[in-house]
C-alpha cells in the first residue's frame, strides 16, 4: 500500500488524556490527524470488545490513554485497563495481528505536550509497522 496513512484509534480517559488533548490544542501543539480520539469515562471502561472491533473495522493501531499510576479518578481503572491490554495483546497474537499495534499509555490532564508527543510517536511506530494484516487481507 503506497502512501500509507495509518488509522489509529485512541481511547482517551475524560479525566486525563482527553483533557490533555484539549491542552495540546490550547497550546497550539500539532499532532497527526491519523489519531482518532474516542472519549471514555475511565481507561478501565475500555472493553476488549471495543479494541478488537476497532481492529476488525480497519484500525492499524489502537492505544488506550489513562491516568498516571496512582492517579485514577476511579481509584484503579487504569491498572485494570493495563491488565486488559495485556490480555488483548495476547489475543491479537493468536489472531495473527502484531501485538505492538496495541498500547497503553498514561498521562495527566496537564500534559498537553506529552499527548501530542505520544500521538506523534505512535503514529510513526504504526507507520513503520505498515497496514494491519486485516486491512491487507480486506484489500486483496
Amino acid at each position: 500500500m503506497e502512501n500509507f496513512e495509518p488509522v489509529i484509534i485512541a481511547f482517551c480517559c475524560h479525566y486525563c488524556a482527553y483533557t490533555a488533548a484539549d491542552m495540546a490544542g490550547s497550546q497550539r501543539l500539532p499532532y497527526p490527524a491519523n489519531v482518532k480520539i474516542i472519549r471514555i469515562p475511565c481507561s478501565g471502561k475500555v472493553d476488549a470488545l471495543h479494541i478488537i472491533k476497532a481492529f476488525e473495522n480497519g484500525a492499524d493501531g489502537v492505544y488506550v490513554a489513562g491516568c498516571l499510576e496512582g492517579d485514577c479518578h476511579f481509584k484503579n481503572g487504569n491498572e485494570k485497563a493495563a491488565r486488559r491490554i495485556t490480555y488483548v495483546r495476547n489475543y491479537l497474537e493468536e489472531i495473527g495481528i502484531e501485538s505492538e499495534r496495541l498500547m497503553m499509555v498514561t498521562m495527566s490532564a496537564g500534559m498537553g505536550y506529552r499527548f501530542a508527543q505520544t500521538a506523534t510517536e505512535i503514529t510513526e511506530k504504526i507507520r513503520k509497522l505498515g497496514p494491519s494484516p486485516i486491512k491487507i487481507a480486506i484489500a486483496q
Binding site: 476488549a48 472491533k53 476488525e56 489475543y91 493468536e94 495481528i97 494484516p133 486485516i134
Partner: protein, 222 residues
C-alpha cells in the same frame, strides 16, 4: 458454577473452516459468569475468528446468538427459526450445552469452543477454583464445610498424607493441604472430635463409578 476456558483459536479455525455459514452460540449461565462463553465472549470470538480467517483468505458468515441456557431443551428450541442456512454450530457453552445442541439438531455438526474445566467457586475477581466433584454423597457436613474430594489430590477421607508440610500440599506450594484447612476449621468450630471419627471407604458408585448418572423427580418428570 461450571467453569470453562476458550480453546485455542487455531483449533476452532480447524473446526469451522470447511463451512460457509456458522452459528456461534453463547450461554448466559455459568460460562458467562466465568467470562468464557457469554455474549461478550461470543462477540470477541466472532471478531477474532473473522479476522483470522480473513488473513488465511477464507470468509465465513458468523451469526452470533446467546441463549439463556444451552442445557435446557426449551431454550435450545428458540434456535429453530434462526437455524435455517446454518451449516454448523460452534457452541460456547459447557459440554452439557454442546451435547444438548447435538441431540436436538441431528443433521448439524456441533463443535465445542470451550474446554469445560470443573465445578468451582470464585476466589476473587478473575480467579476460579475447584470446589466440588459431584461425588453424589456430600461429606461437607462432617469435614467442616471443606471438601477433601475436590481439594485433596489423593481424595483422602481420613486426614492428611505425609506430603502435607506447613499447611501445603506436596504437589505445589500454591495448593493448601485440605486436611490442614479442615482441621483448622473444625478446631475453630470446637468440633475436633469430628476429626477422629473414621470415615468408611467411600462408595464411588454415586460419583459416576457405575456409569452416567441421572436424577428423576417423579413429581416433575413428564
Amino acid at each position: 458454577m461450571i467453569t470453562a476456558e476458550r480453546k485455542p483459536l487455531d483449533e476452532l479455525i480447524e473446526y469451522v473452516k470447511p463451512f460457509k455459514r456458522i452459528l456461534l452460540l453463547g450461554c448466559n449461565e455459568c460460562v458467562t459468569v466465568c467470562a468464557a462463553g457469554g455474549r461478550k465472549e461470543v462477540g470477541l470470538l466472532a471478531s477474532g475468528l473473522q479476522m483470522a480467517l480473513l488473513k488465511s483468505g477464507s470468509n465465513i458468515e458468523i451469526q452470533q446468538h446467546t441463549l439463556e441456557r444451552q442445557c435446557d431443551p426449551e431454550y435450545v428450541e428458540e434456535l429453530v427459526p434462526m437455524i435455517d442456512g446454518t451449516e454448523a454450530i460452534l457452541s460456547m457453552a459447557c459440554g452439557c450445552g454442546v451435547q444438548q445442541l447435538a441431540m436436538r439438531f441431528k443433521n448439524l455438526p456441533v463443535f465445542p469452543a470451550l474446554n469445560t474445566k470443573f465445578m468451582g467457586a470464585s476466589e476473587r475477581q478473575g480467579v476460579w477454583a475447584e470446589r466440588c466433584q459431584g461425588c453424589g454423597d456430600c461429606v461437607l457436613g462432617i469435614t467442616g464445610g471443606i471438601c477433601p474430594i475436590a481439594r485433596c489430590a489423593k481424595q483422602l477421607m481420613n486426614g492428611p498424607c505425609g506430603g502435607s508440610t506447613t499447611g501445603k500440599c506436596e504437589i505445589s506450594e500454591d495448593v493448601d493441604c485440605v486436611w490442614q484447612l479442615i482441621w483448622d476449621r473444625l478446631k475453630s468450630l470446637g468440633q475436633e472430635d469430628r476429626y477422629v471419627d473414621i470415615m468408611p471407604a467411600k462408595d464411588w458408585r454415586s460419583g459416576g463409578g457405575s456409569g452416567p448418572r441421572k436424577i428423576i423427580r417423579e413429581d416433575l418428570a413428564e
